[in-house]
């Protein structure tokens, strides 16, 4: 069986900084993979590369077995099949929340206004933002912004959802909500890659956890296995520190 | 442009005049047109030397109707065809200009004069050399400027103004000591506009006389006809009496020595 998403020997540098150092990773359909690792290890960069927002220097990114990192691929088509939520949410400040979340479906997918807005209101409601639909992002709190960004990514029913520390700006009350939404999505067959610092979250929601260090995947395993019995020394260290910080 | 057309040439083509609009002479002049060349910015009134000359010319050529239009300096010298028969606004005839447009024969020989404050150092100038150390000015597009550069060659480059108004203002502001105009303009300016200045002297003529001519589009067939009429007006003394009426009204001004 082909993996839904596969990274093969992916390299990426910014100038002289070698950020990704030969990433190999496979994500099957219906699978939720969490990327964990210290700050700066390249989690966000991987997600950006998968969404073709950064071009990789070497290696291949396969979606349904097709090399989407190859020359001549239309990246817009690829991106329309994925959703991404950024660490710093990046809503459009000049658009209301409703316009923010309907922009993608209406323009990239050709959904008509009414249909898009109806769909949007359902999702906004689910995330407790129904009354903020007409508000502008800069007038909302960080948490409200991040929730709107999640809704925006979900609007186009992506085949693969990439989430970059989506809970970091959320207050704990809402983390539960988002978690259950993600669980729901996973149940409905959504393939997801999450970069996260929340080990509890990773343990709870992931099928596989990948530990990254200096631009390499050091080990990949189901969370129960990886958290209980880390193989690499660096993983052990990392998990120990995390435990000390009271986050596991 | 200078395709060998001369005033004495055979003017047989002039029986039916090659006018832009049949039966009427369309003449352009400056905007605004001013004395002593055109009275009251109203050439239709026939006052002023150039306006009066045009009407005399029309009569000589048997054209009953004169229609005036206005052009700026830039539009007058732009390439391409013109929608008037000729343009009259004190254009000096030079060889360089003849490359681009055609001129009639000269209708007036210009002399240059310098004006300055009556109580200034410039007032005591007796010769062209005495002018060298002054700050001089002239308006752009005039041969006054050429005269300064070629014959006075002042120590400081002459200031060059857009028009007579600006030259006058610089004079008021004390930025120039003297301004060079053609003599008729100098008369007018000192009489009406800069009353606290006077003509310090007429500048001696150098080289071939400078003549004003009417400007035609390049290759205009009308040039010989106008030249013929001009010659007739010269011969019968019309032009001379117009000069006396409009241009030589200043009394006697000393000419500076070389």
């Amino acid at each position: 069986m082909t993996a839904k998403l596969e990274l093969i020997n992916v390299h990426k540098s910014f100038g002289t900084t070698h950020v990704l150092n030969g990433i190999d990773l496979a994500v099957d359909e219906h699978e939720v993979v969490c990327l964990i690792g210290p700050s700066g290890c390249g989690k966000s960069t991987i997600l950006r590369c998968v969404d073709l927002l950064d071009t990789i220097d070497e290696g291949h990114i396969l979606l349904d077995g097709y090399d989407v990192s190859a020359k001549g691929v239309n990246p817009d088509e690829v991106r329309r099949r994925m959703g991404i939520v950024f660490q710093s949410y990046n809503l459009f400040p000049h658009l209301s929340v409703l316009d923010n979340v309907t922009l993608g479906p209406r323009r990239a997918h050709g959904v008509d206004k009414d249909a898009a807005e109806a769909h949007a209101m359902t999702l906004l409601d689910r995330f407790g933002l129904a009354d903020k639909a007409e508000d502008y992002p800069n007038r909302m709190s960080g948490g409200q912004n991040q929730r709107a960004a999640v809704v925006r990514a979900l609007m186009s029913d992506p085949e693969v959802l990439l989430l970059d520390e989506v809970t970091s700006a959320l207050d704990p009350e809402l983390v539960g909500e988002v978690l259950s939404v993600i669980r729901e999505l996973a149940g409905a067959g959504m393939t997801m890659v999450l970069a996260t610092h929340e080990m509890g979250f990773a343990r709870d929601v992931a099928n596989k956890v990948a530990f990254l260090h200096e631009g390499r995947v050091l080990e990949v395993a189901p969370p129960a296995e990886l958290f209980a019995n880390p193989q690499a020394e660096r993983t052990q260290q990392f998990l120990q520190r995390v435990t000390e910080a009271g986050r596991l | 442009g200078s395709d060998g057309v001369t005033a004495t040439g055979d003017a047989s083509g002039c029986d039916t005049l090659p006018l832009k609009t049949a039966g009427q002479l369309t003449v352009a002049t400056g905007e605004p047109a001013f004395l002593p060349w055109v009275g009251d910015d109203n050439p239709e009134g026939g006052d002023g030397f150039e306006a009066a000359l045009v009407y005399a010319l029309a009569a000589e050529m048997d054209v009953a109707n004169v229609v005036w239009t206005r052009t700026g300096f830039d539009a007058a010298i732009a390439p391409g065809s013109k929608d008037y028969d000729f343009n009259i606004q004190q254009f000096s005839i030079t060889e360089e200009r003849e490359q681009v447009v055609d001129f009639s024969d000269g209708y007036y020989q210009v002399e240059q004069a310098i004006i300055g404050a009556s109580d200034s150092a410039a007032a005591s100038a007796a010769s062209v050399d005495d002018l060298k150390e002054l700050n001089l000015g002239a308006a752009i597009g005039t041969t006054s400027l050429d005269y300064i550069e070629e014959n006075i060659q002042p120590d400081n480059d002459a200031a060059v103004f857009d028009d007579n108004v600006a030259a006058k203002s610089a004079f008021d502001a004390g930025q120039v000591d003297g301004i060079v105009f053609d003599l008729p303009t100098a008369y007018y300016i000192t009489a009406v506009e800069i009353t606290d200045a006077s003509i310090l002297g007429v500048l001696p003529r150098e080289g071939s006389p400078e003549e004003l001519g009417m400007l035609f589009e390049d290759g205009s067939p009308l040039v010989p006809c106008v030249n013929e009429a001009l010659a007739n007006l010269h011969n019968d003394g019309t032009i001379e009496s117009l000069e006396d009426e409009w241009l030589n009204s200043g009394g006697s001004i000393p000419t500076l020595s070389n």
């Binding site: - | 539009a75 390439p79 391409g80 028009d163």
Partner: protein
């Protein structure tokens, strides 16, 4: 637990918060320095004005620049000309906005494939910004019709607007570009991530923010265009400044220019105020960023 909970603080101790201020904390520096600035400005300008009004030649200068009689005399002609300005201004604003947008968008496309487009746009801005407007008007306004090519219009007004458009669109394109560049890269990423094409990202996500960023600079251009329209008069069009010039050349009095200036200000100042007000409102509505 109860002793930890705060219950109504004694409001009496707040009645004299001024007493015993630690030194340095209380100051009205803002107010003081503002006052100083205003007073000194008034002194400088007022003093200058007095000096001017009392100078020996003031009556003469006043008559030459600010004479009531000449104001009345030149007003009708200059006003007539001003309608021409407004017409030319309206047409050129529209064509400039469109051309500038196209050029700016061309310049902001990414990727090697778009290099020729970017290069073309760059050359366009460099050249047309660098050529003095006066020359452009002469070249295009006199040169092109002089070529006598069939079907090419001869109207001075038409070619004047073309020349203005070429020059001003180069400037305006650069302004758009600066607005586009000021939008954070992450906004572009977000838009592309939604599957929008480069053009859609620009159109829906980047440009609306970009234009907001540069409204003052665009206003600059509009105000300056309003005045530069007057350069078309080289081609013989009689607009307000030309009428003022004609009046001045006839009378040797500059008051007609003051008339033209007042007409310009009567458009530009209200326009500026309206745009400022709108921008401020827009900002208040959308952009009060809680940190």
């Amino acid at each position: 637990m109860a002793e930890q909970r705060r219950v109504d603080p004694d409001p009496l101790e707040l009645n004299q918060p001024e007493v015993g201020r630690p030194p340095g904390i209380f100051a009205q520096e803002g107010f003081k320095s503002s006052l100083i600035a205003v007073v000194s400005t008034v002194v400088v300008f007022g003093g200058g004005a007095l000096l001017i009004v009392n100078s020996p030649n003031w009556p003469k200068v006043r008559d030459q620049y600010f004479s009531g009689e000449d104001f009345r005399a030149s007003w009708p002609k200059v006003l007539d000309g001003f309608w021409v300005n407004l017409e030319l201004f309206a047409y050129s604003t529209i064509s400039i906005a469109i051309v500038a947008l196209v050029v700016a968008v061309m310049r902001s496309f990414r990727g090697a494939a778009f290099f020729p487009l970017r290069a073309l746009a760059t050359i366009y801005t460099d050249i047309f910004r660098g050529i003095p407007l006066i020359l452009l008007i002469l070249l295009i306004g006199f040169g092109l019709p002089a070529l006598d090519i069939g079907g090419v219009p001869r109207s001075a007004t038409f070619w004047g607007i073309v020349a203005l458009t070429l020059s001003y669109s180069a400037y305006t394109a650069e302004i758009y570009r600066s607005g586009i560049d000021a939008v954070p890269e992450s906004q572009r990423s977000s838009a592309r991530a939604l599957g929008l094409t480069q053009w859609q990202s620009l159109r829906f996500a980047i440009l609306p923010q970009a234009v907001r960023n540069v409204v003052p600079a665009l206003m600059n251009t509009v105000v300056s265009l309003q005045k530069d329209v007057a350069l078309i008069s080289i081609l013989g069009v009689r607009e307000a400044v030309r009428e003022a010039q004609i009046y001045t050349a006839r009378t040797f009095n500059y008051t007609s220019y003051v008339v033209a200036t007042l007409l310009f200000l009567a458009i530009s100042i209200p326009l500026t105020r309206v745009v400022d007000w709108y921008t401020a409102r827009d900002r208040r509505l959308r952009s009060q960023a809680p940190v």
